[in-house]
Structure formats: C-alpha cells, structure tokens
C-alpha cells in the first residue's frame, strides 16, 4: 500500500490511482481472487424486506452464466456485510443507499448496477407527509413542529432531510424538534395517529403500507417529494479476477426480471442498470458530507 499515489477517502488497504473514487483492482496478479464459490449477500434495509426464495431465479441465472456455485445470503446488518467484504468473505453484495459509501471506502466495494425500469428510471423518493387536516403546506411550515426522522444513520429517514431541508427553509433540530421514530413505518403510523406533525419517509415504504391497508391514505397529505435517490447498489469486491468480474456484470445485465419472482417483487423494475459510484452516488456523498459523515475515521487517523 506504500506505493499508492492516491487513495482519496479509501481505507489504507485500498488504492485509487485512477481517481474513480473506488478501489482499483490490484496490479499484482497474486492478489487477485478467483473463488470457486461466489458469495452474494443482500441487505433489505431501506427497501422493503425480501424473502430469500425470491432471489432463486437470479441465483440460478448467475450460476449458469459464471459456471460457479453461488451462495446467497439475505443479511440484516449493513456493518456485517461491509466487514465481511473487507475480510474477503463476500464477493458480490447489494448494499443499501446510505451504507454504500462506507462499503466503497472501508471494504473496497465497486458498485456497478442498480435495479431500474426499462426507460432507465430508478430509485425511490423522499416524501414528506402530514395529517390531511394539518395547516402545514410546505416544508418551511415545519418550523416549530414535531417531526419524526427514522434513525440517525438512515439516509432517507434522516441524513437526506438534514441535508436538503435547509435549502427549503427549515433547519432540522434548530427550527423544529427532531424525534427519532425508529423506522419509516413507525414515522408514518405516528403521523396518522397524530403523534408527530409530519415525517419524511421513503416512497417505497409508504406505498407498500397503503397497499396493505395499514393506514387510510385519505388521512394524510404529501407536502413535498424529492428527486429520486439511487436504491440498493450492487457491487463487486475490488480484488475479483477482472475476467470473472466481467462475467458477473454481464450476468447481471443479461437478467430478465419479467416473469420471475424478483420481477413480481420489485414493481416497475425490469433490469439491472449500469451505474458508477462516481456519478450516481454523488448526491448521497454530498448529503453525507454536509452531515459531517466520515467514512474511515480510523483509516485517516492511522496515516
């Protein structure tokens, strides 16, 4: 690692000579990894939870395309997933929006795809809801109210509002009281029950809740909606053999959602869309930067 000219925010284990903000494939062939069994993990965090069996058709496709065994794990902790990739225990991973930059910088993850629609549309939106009869009309009206964020580390539930709302006229914590509700659905139910005056929540969550009749959509009113954020990023470990990495990517891009369980599960999604961390995650990095998030506190201190 001594001979690394540039690594940006990456941990000392990684190097970014080409400046694309993600870890470079090691130049020393001995450091490349070509495992017999590919390990693929996915965290259902800000997306709706997914049953493991829904991924079965995709795993079969991936095994057919790469000719290797693929083990799939639906994992419930971002940190476990990041640490696993850092330790070389994980080759392909779906990281949620917020944790992706951590994965890139701490674990050398290289994002290459997200799920999207035929027309290239992707992602979810941040929506702000209040009670139907409330006098809150704009985000600026939130001043002096009780607003539910989800939890400190959530992207859409906390960091994004903190980064975006000042531009709309209110500063969280200063102009209004922030109450952590624990999760998107708790925020929403709390708004319905009148426990909170308003709450920023992820569009996917409220859609699904409405579908299940957990609240009556007539009782709430949306006052603001953000541009779409990228959803779960699909990433590869940086030290995978380049040929293998290429095969895996092709397998992703050639997968047809139509008619599979995965297609039924993710409404409006029809394929994996190629992305880069540098472009599609710029907005997230910006949000996190404005909230003072550092990706490698220990790594930086060590230098």
């Amino acid at each position: 690692a001594q001979d690394c000219p540039e690594r940006g925010a990456l941990d000392v284990l990684y190097c970014d000579a080409n400046g694309d903000l993600v870890a470079d494939t090691p130049t020393d062939p001995a450091l490349l990894n070509d495992p017999n069994t590919l390990v693929f993990a996915y965290t259902p965090v800000e997306d709706p939870a997914v049953y493991a069996d829904i991924w079965a058709p995709f795993i079969a496709h991936l095994e057919a395309e790469t000719g290797k065994d693929v083990q799939f794990f639906a994992v419930q902790s971002n940190s476990a997933e990041v640490e696993a990739m850092r330790s070389g225990r994980l080759h392909i991973a779906g990281f949620s929006t917020g944790p992706t930059p951590f994965a890139v910088n701490l674990a050398g993850a290289v994002p290459f795809a997200i799920m999207g629609a035929e027309d290239g549309q992707f992602g979810y939106r941040l929506q702000v809801f209040t009670q139907a009869g409330s006098d809150i009309q704009t985000v600026a009206d939130l001043a002096g109210k009780r607003v539910a964020h989800t939890s400190p580390t959530s992207n859409s539930g906390n960091q994004a509002p903190r980064a975006l709302f000042p531009g709309l006229g209110v500063v969280p914590d200063q102009d209004y009281e922030v109450i952590y509700s624990g999760s998107h659905d708790q925020s929403m139910l709390g708004v319905v029950a009148g426990d909170y005056d308003a709450a920023p929540v992820a569009s996917e969550v409220v859609d699904r809740m409405a579908e299940r009749g957990l609240y009556d959509p007539a009782e709430v009113r949306m006052i603001w909606e953000s541009d779409p954020f990228p959803t779960t990023s699909f990433t590869l470990a940086h030290d995978l053999d380049p040929a293998l990495a290429e095969t895996i990517k092709q397998a992703f891009f050639s997968f047809e959602f139509e008619g599979t369980a995965l297609g039924d599960e993710f409404d409006g999604v029809s394929k994996f869309i190629p992305i880069t961390y540098q472009d599609q995650w710029a907005v997230i990095r910006e949000i996190q930067a404005s909230n003072g998030v550092e990706y490698t506190p220990q790594g930086l201190a060590a230098e």
Binding site: T37, E83, S87, G88, F102, G190, A193, Q298
Partner: protein
C-alpha cells in the same frame, strides 16, 4: 428371587443399553444432519485470526468523546430495564406458580401457564413493540411494556423450574397447619425460591439492558441505540466504549446478585 450370583455386572440391561445407544445415535444423527448444512471454508478459518485482529485493532483504544451521551443513555436504559424487569417479575410470579408441575392446581392451568410463557418468548420483540407503539404512541412506555412482555416468558420459565426443585417437606408442614394454597406458597415456597429469584431477576435485568435496542423500534433512546448507531457508522472505538460500559454494568449486576444470594442462601 435374588439375582443369581453372576460375577459380571453391567450398568444397563441389554434393552436399556439399546435404548441408550438409540438415544445417543439419535442425537448423533441430529447433529450430523445439522452439520450437513455447514460447509466450512477452511482457508477462512485459518485466516480468521488476522481478520479478528483487523477488527480489534480498530476497536482500541476506546473512544471516550461521546462518553457523556453514552452514560446518559446508560442511565436511561438502566431505568427502563429496572422498571420493566420489576413489573415483569411481579407478573411472572403467578404464571411461574401455575406452570410448575408441583404447584399447579391442575393440568389445564399447567398448560395455560406454559402457553403464556411460551407465547411471551416466541412473539418477536418487534411484534410487541409494534403493538404497544400503536396503543401508547411512540416512546418509553411502549418500550418498557414491550420489554416487560418479553421478560415474562423468561422469568416465569426459570422461576417455574426453581419452584419444581424446592424441598417439599416444609410445604407439607404448612398444609398440615391448614393453611390455604396461597399462604402455603407465601410461607413455604417463596422463601425457598428467593435466591433463585434474585439471581434470575438480575440476569434478566442485564439481558434487558443489552436488549434495549428494542427501544429504537419504538423511537426511544437507550444504550442499545447508541451501540447500533456506532456499529452502523463503523465507529468501532465508540463501540468498544459502549461495550466497556455494558461490561461494567453486568459486573455490577453480578456483584449485587451474589451479595443478595449470600445474604439469602
């Protein structure tokens, strides 16, 4: 009908031995079946110490910058755990009594008791939390009640087993005095299970401290939330600080428990 004086002796008759081998074989089979799902990647196992070192070196030294927040959250958590444990203890006593084989009034009660205990432990914390948030609104109350409901199963079960292991003689003596069932329990059983009672309550108390992550589900703070947050943002040095705090609390719990036991044993 004395057994003929054969000089060889075996602990078990052939039938018993078959039964034992059978049971042993059954367990072995179960374990093998379970092991079947595990494929160990040995390279990873050999490499494990390096990876563990990676994590531990990032954990030291503990980072005390947020110590004040941590201590404050700890204090809150202690309060919540204490209240929840106290109430749960009170509620679990009658359940323990009806689900212990030697104090249950009848088989129906035994199964009702067992059912209550089992439901309390098998219903997910999330479910309890959701239910009580919906009822009481987000906040500490829902958290306390969720933790409490979850503790009842644990306390009731272990207390029930302690009750099953008591000395029955004093109970009989009280029955001979013509005391009612409740008073027999009060004078004959309660004093006998006291040490176990304290040990179990304090054990649950410290489990509740650590499981205060539940509070996050209901939008209340707590040491569990701080820990979770630190893990989620990879602040491993803060994580180790929180772990040290929890360690101190668990040790304090142990000390209190063993002092109480000594006094009561």
């Amino acid at each position: 009908m004395t057994q003929d004086m054969t000089m060889d002796w075996a602990r078990y008759t052939p039938a018993q031995r078959m039964k034992r081998y059978g049971a042993f074989f059954g367990v072995a089979l179960l374990v093998t079946w379970a092991l079947g799902s595990i494929d160990v990647i040995w390279e990873w196992v050999w490499d494990a110490p390096v990876q563990l070192a990676d994590l531990f070196t990032r954990m030291v030294p503990p980072d005390p910058t947020n110590l004040e927040t941590i201590l404050w959250a700890t204090w809150e958590t202690i309060n919540i755990a204490t209240i929840a444990t106290m109430i749960a203890v009170v509620l679990s006593l009658p359940v323990a009594l009806i689900s212990a084989q030697n104090t249950t009034p009848n088989v129906v009660c035994l199964w009702i008791g067992r059912f209550i205990l089992v439901s309390s432990r098998s219903v997910n914390t999330i479910i309890w939390a959701l239910l009580f948030v919906a009822i009481f609104g987000p906040g500490i109350i829902a958290g306390i009640i969720a933790i409490m409901f979850r503790s009842i199963g644990f306390l009731g079960k272990l207390l029930g087993e302690a009750i099953e292991e008591i000395d029955h003689a004093p109970v009989e003596a009280l029955q001979a005095c013509g005391a009612s069932r409740f008073r027999v329990v009060l004078y004959g059983i309660v004093p006998q299970v006291m040490p176990a009672f304290f040990a179990i309550s304090i054990l649950r108390w410290d489990i509740n401290l650590r499981e205060s992550t539940v509070l996050g589900l209901v939008g209340a703070g707590g040491i569990g939330i701080i820990l979770q947050g630190a893990i989620d943002t990879f602040q491993w040095q803060e994580v180790s600080m929180v772990l040290l705090t929890i360690l101190a609390l668990v040790i304090a719990g142990e000390v209190i428990a063993s002092a109480l036991r000594k006094k009561l044993l």
